[in-house]
Structure formats: C-alpha cells, structure tokens
Assembly symmetry: C2
Homo-oligomer: 312 residues x 2
C-alpha cells in the first residue's frame, strides 16, 4: 500500500476549499422560500469525502485550469451529488434515515422540502457551471454543462438508480415467492449487468469529475475517462466489501442492507476474495490510464489506491 | 373579445410540432432503465396546452430564429414543465391523482419511478438546450441554459413551490386551531405576497419561454420579460377563477382544492369581480409591452387574451 499521507492531506484541503465555495454560492435566504435553501445547505454543506470535488480539482491542475473555474466546477458536481443522495434516501426510494452521520434531509425537514431541495440543487449545479465566472468561453461552459446533463440523466445516474431499484424489487419478489434459488456459478452476464448498473449510477458522475479539467482546458478527456471508469468500478466493489465487513459508526450510514435485501453485488457474485482481486486489477488499470500525465497525476493515482483501502 | 380562431389554430399546430420533437428526443429504451424513460414519456407526451412551447415558438419567430433552435427550446421547456408537474403531484406535495385527464405519474407507475422521471426530465431539458444542434454559438447556448437554470431553481420555480407549500401548511394550522379568522380587508401586502409566489412558481418559466427567442437571436429580451410578467399573473388569476367556477371534466384535474384548503388566492383576496378586473388590466399591460414588435406579435397578444377567457 502506497504512502497515503500526501493524498489524505490533499483530500482534506480540497474538501475545505469546496466547502467554502459552496458556502459562498448558497447563502441562507430570508422569507418563506428560505426553508428549501436551508435544506439544500443541510444536504450539501459540512459532510462527505468530497471525492468528486477532489477529482475535479486534481483533473484541473493537470491542465493548469484557473482556480476559479476548477473550484466552481467542483462545487457544481457536489450539488449534483448531494441532490442524488437526498432523492435516493427518500422513503419511496432507499428509505434511509442516516447519511454522513446525521439524519437524512427528509427526516431533518420533511419529504416535500427534501424533494424540492434535491430539485433545486440539480438546477444550481447547472447555474454554477453556466455562469460566465466559471469560464470566459461560452462554448466550453456549454460543453461542460452538456456533459453533466448527460451524466445525470436517464442514460447516466438516474438510469442507474432505476436499474438498482428494479433489481431490488426483483430480489424481493423472488424472496417472497419462497423459491429456493440457491445461486449457481455467477455468469459473465450477471457481472456485466452489475458493472453496467455501477457505470451508470455512480460511474457517470465520476467520469464527469475526472474529465472536467480536460474539458475546461479544451484538451482530450479520453485518458481520464478510462481512469474514471476503472476507478469508479473499484470504488463500488470496495463499497460492496464494506457493506459486508464495515463498521456502521465509521460509515455514517446503515450497512448490510444490500445483503439483507438479497440484491446482487460484486461480493455476492464473485466472493470476497474474487471481488478484492478484481478491485486490485481495476486500480492498476486506473493508474496505467494516467501514464500521459506523469508525476502530475500522483494524487489521482493515490486516490485510486484509496478506493482499494478505504474503511468508509 | 378578439377573434380567437387564428390563435386556436396556432396553438394546436405548435403543440403538434413540439409533440413530434419530444417524441424524437425521447425514444423508448429497452433494458431495466426503460421504465424511467416510459414514465418520462408518459408525463411529457400527449397532453397539455403546450402554452410554454407556444410562447417559445412565437417569441422565436419575432426574431427569425432558425426553426430547429426554436423547436428544441420549446421541447426543453416542456420537459422542465413536465418534471415540475410530476413532482408537484407527488403524495408528499399536492397529492394529486389526475393530471391532463389521466392518472398522475406516481399512480400510473410508482412514486420512486415518478421522482426519477422528474429528475431525468430536468436533466434532459438542459441536455436538449446545450446540444450544438440547438444553436451553433456556444455562448448563446450557455446563456439560454443559464437563464433556464435560474428560472427553475430556488430563486424561481422551486422557491415558488416551497412558498406555496408553506402557505398551505399555515392555512391548515390556522384551520386546525379552531380560531375564527374571518378575513378582513385584504392588505396590499397579501396581494403582493401572492403575486410574488406566482412570479416565482409559474412566472419564471413563462418569462424564460417568452424571452427565449430574443436570447437565441442575441437581442434585448426586456419587452418580452414585461409581457411575460403581466401575462403570467393574468393567467394565474384566471386559474384561481377557474378553481372556483370551473368544470373538473374540462380542466382534467381536481378543482376547488385551494378554496377547500383555505389557501390565499387572488379571488379570495380581491373577490371574483376584483380579480377579473385586475386580470383585464394585466392583459392590457401585456399587449402594450409587445408594441415594439408590431403586427408580428399578434398571436402573442391573442395568447394574453386567451389567458383571460380560457375555460380550462
């Protein structure tokens, strides 16, 4: 395992940076609509690893992108991510009561306010990216925001969440039928299906984050796309492993939900050892994709290592 | 009352145009994520007056905007509008069971799918606007999408819906307290507050629609902003009047909810006659704002007249 000191310091510093930008971009508001802004602030401020913001800021420094452009893009992706967490946690979706170690937004406020806060955070992500202060060139702003829209929609994050919910319902249906469906050898198709789910549900925003520096600098994003695809999958496999092995206190959310629900996971299909092996291969792929950037990409390499070794 | 034949023909023709564009932009999808696309199609296709699309297309023709630009912008605003209807109808919000004469999306599908379909329709609105085929100039695409993001978010549509929900809760609280709060003379502040609610909740998307032609042509949107503000308010006053007087069958949704809930409305504050008078003044203001465009704006003037006389 690589020395993580440098990475740990950087992710903490980047998180503080994006926190400050979000605080400036989303001040409290008086009046009756202030409640939705309070809920947006509750969901987006003061929490999370800010891994997507980290990817944006590190991607941006590969191309000497102006700090303001990078910081605003990092804030935008965190708004988009926070919106998806609020909506995923709703009673009609995953029905979660804890997130980042505190009550989920619909419990801290109410369901209607939570739906609206998520909606407005999505709008805010686009508003931030499209403001001229993000980049002087409108063509670049439009391309960046277009990439985010595609990553977020039915062919990206929302599509992945839909597949996930359908898979959960299918698992419940089989379990309720009382059939003894002892799983056989996992098929290639099973693993492909779950990898596709992940690529849409979390991979699309990872890819946007990792390629955003190239988009802001009008450079080829392809190597960073490959990095993000491998990294994102490794990150998700580690999530599945943590769901089995992890500590709820440290994770700040409820664990073992997936296994309890009978949902297909990488660990369920490949076993703990097989999933760990696959994650290590993917982290090596992610590192190899960064080859064009040499020593400038050290922290992005360490981020991929982190995906493998994190405990929450 | 002006002759509405020309207007009626135009709004039907424009609705058919935007329907076809939406059908092309949102084809059915196979696979497990197809369900969310089906729900998006259910909500956005085959219904509604398409008043916002009408405003876009008529605004665009004032400035000789290319048909493709106008049609795609009209489709984008209808996606944004459809998303807001899906979420507003949710059980945790207005809990409506009919919309456009058919079951609301969460009843036709389920709540989780409805939340996701709304989310993805918002993303799709931006995706459509930001695609190079909407306009060759990236600066203009970015400005247009930025205007939509501001209109949709916490300082626009979502903020208005939050105020509306808060007002409803306040009305229920007073009603539950058993106090006999017979309304006195409406104050200027009451009318201002409800006008502000409307300006945010529905006015912001109206303004985006009416000004979009100017934005696409890089011209001054100010006269169209004034038109939209007056038109939007008149439209809402007529909505309040229809809520009291209207026919549920014709409206395609449940009526008299506002009055039953004890919510403040223009009609409640100003009476049927006062509200009607104010609506007529506003329609005159809307027409006056169109003066710079002469005869080219005839259909936009008729649209404002329609706001006054519509029966659904």
């Amino acid at each position: 395992m690589a020395d993580m000191t440098e990475f740990t310091a950087a992710i903490v510093a980047h998180a503080a940076t994006v926190e400050q930008v979000l605080e400036e971009l989303l001040p409290s508001v008086h009046g009756p609509e202030g409640r939705v802004v309070d809920a947006m602030r509750y969901a987006v401020l003061g929490g999370g690893k800010r891994l997507r913001a980290f990817l944006v800021l590190e991607s941006a420094q590969l191309f000497d992108v102006a700090p303001t452009s990078a910081k605003r893009t990092a804030a935008a992706i965190e708004c988009m991510h926070a919106y998806s967490l609020i909506h995923d946690d709703l009673p009609c979706m995953d029905d979660d009561d804890m997130r980042r170690g505190k009550p989920t937004t619909h419990l801290a406020f109410d369901e209607a306010t939570a739906v609206l806060a998520g909606d407005a955070l999505q709008s805010l992500a686009f508003e931030i990216l499209l403001d001229p202060s993000t980049h002087a060139n409108g063509e670049i702003r439009a391309r960046l925001a277009s990439a985010l829209a595609r990553a977020a929609g039915a062919n990206g994050m929302v599509g992945g969440q839909m597949i996930d919910i359908q898979a959960e319902r299918e698992a419940l249906r089989i379990s309720a039928s009382g059939l003894d469906l002892t799983p056989g050898e996992p098929t290639r198709a099973d693993v492909d299906a779950i990898a596709r789910l992940q690529r849409l549900k979390t991979g699309a925003l990872f890819e946007f984050s990792a390629t955003s520096g190239a988009l802001l600098a009008d450079q080829d994003p392809e190597p960073l796309s490959r990095y993000a695809a491998a990294f994102g999958l490794a990150f998700q496999i580690r999530d599945d492993l943590l769901d089995v092995e992890g500590d709820e206190q440290a994770a700040g959310k409820r664990l073992r939900k997936d296994a309890d629900m009978g949902k297909a996971t990488f660990v369920g299909l490949m076993g703990v050892d097989g999933a760990g092996r696959r994650a290590r291969e993917l982290v090596a792929e992610a590192s190899a994709a960064l080859e064009p950037y040499g020593g400038s990409a050290t922290l992005l390499r360490q981020a991929a290592d982190f995906a493998l070794h994190r405990t929450r």
